[in-house]
């Protein structure tokens, strides 16, 4: 996390608002139920929106802490499954080379 002097919310407050609105929409309920078989949980977006606005208005340290904790939890949740493959350190060497000659026969 950046030091408190240069820190700002990871996302603009409008983004938290947009995510909360999307999460609460009927369409999202349908999509989420179709994928997961249960209703979506949207409360955290609203909490994050409140923290974001709190920080913007008062530079609240508690709001900063809460936002960081929330976003780290999201990142952790996205990374909890072990990948099936090994990630590359560099892209494939032949990506930009011309299409191999024999493929044009």
């Amino acid at each position: 996390m950046a030091d408190s002097g240069s820190w700002r919310p990871p996302r603009p407050c409008e983004t938290y608002h947009a995510e909360w609105k999307l999460c609460r929409s009927a369409r999202h309920f349908l999509h989420h139920y179709y994928v997961h078989g249960e209703r979506p949980a949207c409360e955290q977006w609203l909490r994050d929106l409140a923290s974001c606005r709190d920080w913007e208005e008062r530079r609240s340290a508690e709001a900063q802490r809460s936002l960081c904790e929330s976003e780290r939890a999201r990142v952790q949740a996205a990374r909890k499954h072990t990948l099936v493959w090994a990630l590359r350190q560099s892209p494939p060497a032949d990506w930009h080379l011309p299409v191999p000659q024999e493929k044009d026969k």
């Binding site: 996302r11 994928v35 099936v84």
Partner: protein
């Protein structure tokens, strides 16, 4: 995948060793998101074939306007695999009902111009294949020697490209709601594997089931399952914001 190694030295495919043919053989491409539809649906659309010029024009529109594709293009560029339309895409005629494929040996996406019905279909085929290309770019995917790796990319492509949207499944006369998306992803991944690997259905199912939890929950580069263009736009917004994001958590 709609064409991991479609016949270009890609394992037990009838096209192995054969090079690019005017007509692609069934199995030379991976199974596409659009399996051969049941009779009436196929009859309705069979006349809507697409020539090379239409394919090129639709592809251009997809690359320039579709939010799923624009995010994938950005992500690939960020990973060192910038896409060049002329180099990395090829519109060709294919045999059978194949819609397209990704050829890892030539780093090229083939679009079956005679089987891509309309702009929406093009959008989805390009998205599907770019997910395979993205996986090829960011990871050591053993396309030809690991059924698990192939299964993982197919699960991701079916999950993230819109292949298994509720509307598409209804058009295929597959009715289901609660968690049906996961059923669709699993089934389509299995079909894709069977189209290009000479293995039993049991082996394909086993591979998909082994990797499913990990690969179904791997949403890169979207960060979420993009259920519609709105979700894809939000995902692209987040991707563009990633520097700010990671430096402030």
């Amino acid at each position: 995948m709609e064409g991991a190694g479609h016949g270009r030295g890609a394992g037990p495919s009838p096209m192995a060793g054969e090079q690019r043919q005017p007509q692609r053989q069934p199995g030379s491409c991976q199974v596409c998101p659009e399996q051969p539809a049941d009779g009436p649906q196929q009859g309705l659309f069979s006349s809507l074939q697409t020539g090379n010029q239409s394919c090129q024009l639709m592809l251009l529109k997809t690359l320039e306007t579709n939010p799923y594709v624009k995010l994938l293009l950005d992500a690939m560029k960020h990973s060192g695999c910038a896409i060049n339309k002329e180099r990395h895409f090829s519109c060709e005629d294919c045999n059978g009902n194949v819609s397209g494929g990704f050829d890892a040996s030539s780093s090229q996406i083939v679009l079956c111009q005679n089987n891509i019905r309309n702009q929406a279909h093009m959008n989805r085929v390009v998205t599907h294949e770019l997910i395979h290309a993205f996986d090829h770019c960011r990871a050591h995917v053993n396309w030809f020697t690991s059924v698990r790796h192939l299964a993982c990319s197919e699960v991701r492509a079916a999950n993230l490209s819109g292949d298994c949207s509720l509307v598409n499944e209804i058009f295929r006369l597959h009715f289901g709601l609660k968690r049906h998306h996961q059923t669709c992803v699993r089934d389509r991944a299995i079909l894709s594997i069977l189209a290009v690997r000479n293995i039993s259905r049991e082996m394909a199912e086993k591979a998909v089931d082994e990797v499913f939890e990990s690969c179904f929950n791997d949403h890169e580069p979207f960060g979420r399952i993009p259920h519609s263009q709105t979700y894809a736009r939000y995902a692209h917004r987040d991707f563009q914001n990633r520097d700010r994001y990671y430096s402030n958590i």
